[in-house]
Amino acid sequence: MGWFIKIFGSSLGKKLLMSLTGLFLISFLTVHLIGNLSVFSQDGGLAFNAYAKFMSTNPLISTVSYLLYASIILHVIVAIVLTSANKSARPVKYKQLNAKDNSSWESRSMALLGILVLAFILLHLKDFWWQYKFGGSYQFSEDANGNRDIYALVIQQFSTTFGLASYLIGLLALFFHLKHGFQSAFQTLGINHNKYTPAIKNIGLAYSIIVPLCFASMPVYVYFFK
């Protein structure tokens, strides 16, 4: 047990946790996106409501969702621990610093981007997850199939300019966070080789653009066409 604690007490072990939880959250994004695309089916939300019911009642999904909550919390906690240690590693700052000449903005701003993404997640959970699971102020009606009509709530949320703007800002932060985080997670795991690192970087860039763009298409679609 001592060796186990020692790994995660070390800087490399904490980086490993960031990498593994990050990759799990990336895989979740894919599943979440595929399911959410049902919002585009032209059936007045029947497919979307059925998907929401499946996600909240399926035992396997429920089990994985606890792993998801744990990953988000762990990713945030370890990030706070690492960031504060990193800050204290340079108590006296440079008076003149040209960091843009040696590194990308997003790679230096992962903490800020992470805070924005977390704020976005909390807002998103409050908007839908909380209402659906714990019965917030919103009164759900039932659709033709007898499922609670969360589709109507989606339409309501994204019809407001605040709803649209806050989601677009959140997804922009997600784009930058993924742009650095995706390939960085593999580097931390020690996966770096001339054969496949260029492919990982390209796939990471494509993923960081496509996934937030697809998510963004939903509030934009609702705001302008519904």
């Binding site: 700052k93 008076k95 003149q96 931390t188």
Partner: protein, 251 residues
């Protein structure tokens, strides 16, 4: 191109480790474009000494880019604006006439300032002492080709061994992380047969010492790789991670 140039220098002056330190401004005139950055500082120090004041203290030794002693943070970047060179190899023709040049020491908790621009880099020595060596008896000099080493590994080990331990990676990193340095030292031995016996022990001990010294951790910004005067690349950090995780799980 003019043969001589004039500069305004903003230099960090700090009498000792305890004092606070501040920038002082100096003017240097008629500096040859062919002189190195350190020679320019030598000229400045001559003038300061003749005026009976304390010259600017900075580290230097070989002045041919191989010792790793020079350590100046010039205009916001370690070793100045040029790629893959140390300060001693930086020439004044790089800096336009009549400009201001800011010179600071490396900034890191693990590299405390001793005086002016000189920092204490003995944290690197202690990391090497914790495992960056081969202590088993490897015998006398073997016959040529008696120990088979793949050419690729020999090259990678040599690339890693090019690290001169100057600390530019720490200076450049936003987290003051020493991972490029430590990974180069772990890699050069992990890639060669002589390093195998202590391979796991070495990775664990050196990372452990690195954490104890108060360096930050890596966020893969790549600033270290971009600023390294010897072109040590990030694949070394990935190798160190593999070495450390494997050693943790199997030793």
């Amino acid at each position: 191109m003019e043969k001589v140039r004039n500069y305004t220098l903003k230099i960090w002056r700090q009498p000792n480790a305890q004092s606070k330190g501040e920038f002082k401004t100096y003017e240097v005139k008629n500096i040859s474009t062919g002189s190195s950055f350190l020679e320019m500082l030598d000229i400045l120090n001559e003038e300061i000494s003749e005026a009976g004041e304390d010259p600017v203290h900075f580290d230097h030794d070989c002045r041919e880019g191989i010792c790793g002693m020079c350590s100046l943070f010039i205009n916001g970047r370690p070793h100045g604006p040029e790629e893959e060179i140390t300060v001693c190899q930086l020439h004044m023709r790089t800096f336009p006439n009549n400009t201001t040049i800011t010179i600071e020491p490396w900034r890191a908790k693990a590299f405390p300032v001793i005086k002016d621009l000189i920092v204490d880099r003995s944290a690197f020595d202690r990391i090497i002492q914790s495992g960056g060596f081969v202590s088993v008896n490897t015998g006398s000099v073997p016959d040529g080709n008696a120990i088979p080493i793949p050419k690729q590994n020999a090259d990678l080990a040599m690339d890693a061994a090019a690290c001169i331990g100057c600390g530019a990676c720490v200076a450049a990193c936003k987290n003051a992380s020493a991972m490029l340095f430590v990974s180069a030292k772990v890699s050069q031995l992990a890639l060669l047969p002589q390093g195998q016996v202590e391979r796991k022990k070495r990775a664990l001990a050196m990372v452990d010492q690195m954490d104890k010294e108060g360096f930050g951790s890596c966020t893969n910004t790549g600033a270290c790789e971009a600023e390294c005067p010897k072109g040590i690349d990030l694949s070394n950090i990935a190798r160190m991670n593999r070495e450390y995780f494997t050693a943790s799980l199997t030793s």
